[in-house]
């Protein structure tokens, strides 16, 4: 179910020589791709950025023993960034996220089942080096 981003359509931040410039076209942004392309590095930069923007909340494997499912269900006006999503989200949670119109999601994982995504909503991470800086952005995974 494709809807426009309800919290942010762009995240731009910097971490030393890394620039993170994420443009989001839909409310659920699914980021996948080969291992080692910088997905978890970008997650760590977004975690840092969440200290400046209270609308952003980050979850990863460290949170697996915490009540993150209730946190998501009770949230309103939050952009959740979820790394290790294949471990954290079961089918039920993915269905909930697909239909959630109160919050926005960036999901880093491999299994988009139940998220009701079209092919153009599955993205990969692009990294471009400019001198000693690296810019991370999103790109279509297919086509």
């Amino acid at each position: 179910m494709k809807i426009k981003p309800i919290i942010l359509d762009r995240i731009y931040t910097k971490h030393t020589n890394y620039i993170i410039d994420l443009q989001m076209d839909s409310n659920v942004t699914f980021v996948s791709g080969d291992s080692g392309t910088g997905k978890s590095a970008v997650y760590s930069f977004l975690l840092e950025y969440s200290s400046e923007d209270s609308r952003i909340r980050c979850l990863n494997y460290i949170d697996h023993n915490k009540d993150y499912k209730e946190t998501i269900r009770n949230a309103k006006g939050i952009l959740f960034v979820i790394d290790n999503a294949d471990l954290l989200l079961n089918d039920e949670m993915r269905q909930y996220i697909a239909l959630d119109t109160n919050n926005q999601y960036i999901i880093i994982g491999r299994n988009p089942t139940s998220l009701m995504l079209s092919q153009d909503e599955i993205l990969g991470l692009d990294s471009v080096k400019n001198d000693d800086r690296t810019v991370f952005s999103l790109k279509k995974a297919f086509g």
Binding site: Y18, D34, G36, T37, Y61, H64, R110, D132, T134
Partner: protein, 146 residues
């Protein structure tokens, strides 16, 4: 040849390692030797600088080995701990290619996670041991209910 386990065939005495990052950071990192260099190079396209250090593929800085990708850590977990079963659900195609090319190792995933380059794999379910050398055959077996 690696072995793929169906959930029902996992011995009660064994646990699936699902959190590959944690397992790697706590246990596998201590086991690494020169064999890890190739795996790290193939998957994360970077150099291992020492037992606990890698070079960043993006800017060449020295990083703790905990900054390897989850896919790379999973491959190293499988290689250095051939008696344990590891969930491969977080592996990208590049990590899967390395894992499926290993001589030994035990893996699990709730749904099929297969490298396109797979050659020969052993599958274990309630009915015993099966051998697969075809992607589609393995996928069909994996998708079937136990």
């Amino acid at each position: 040849m690696i072995t793929v386990y169906k959930n029902s065939a996992i011995p009660v005495t064994e646990e699936i390692v699902r959190f590959n990052d944690i397992y790697f950071n706590k246990y596998t990192a201590d086991l690494l030797d020169d064999r890890a260099r190739d795996i790290i190079k193939q998957i994360d396209q970077t150099e291992m600088l020492g037992k606990y250090a890698i070079e960043s593929r993006f800017d060449g800085t020295k990083l703790n080995i905990d900054k390897l990708s989850t896919g790379c850590k999973t491959a190293l977990n499988v290689m250095y701990n051939p008696n344990n079963i590891f969930d491969i659900c977080e592996c990208g195609e590049n990590a899967l290619e390395v894992i499926y090319g290993m001589d030994a190792g035990k893996v699990y995933c709730e749904y099929p996670m297969i490298a396109f380059t797979m050659e020969k794999v052993q599958g274990i379910d309630n009915n015993g041991v099966h051998e697969f050398d075809d992607y589609e055959d393995l996928r069909t077996w994996w998708k079937n209910e136990d």
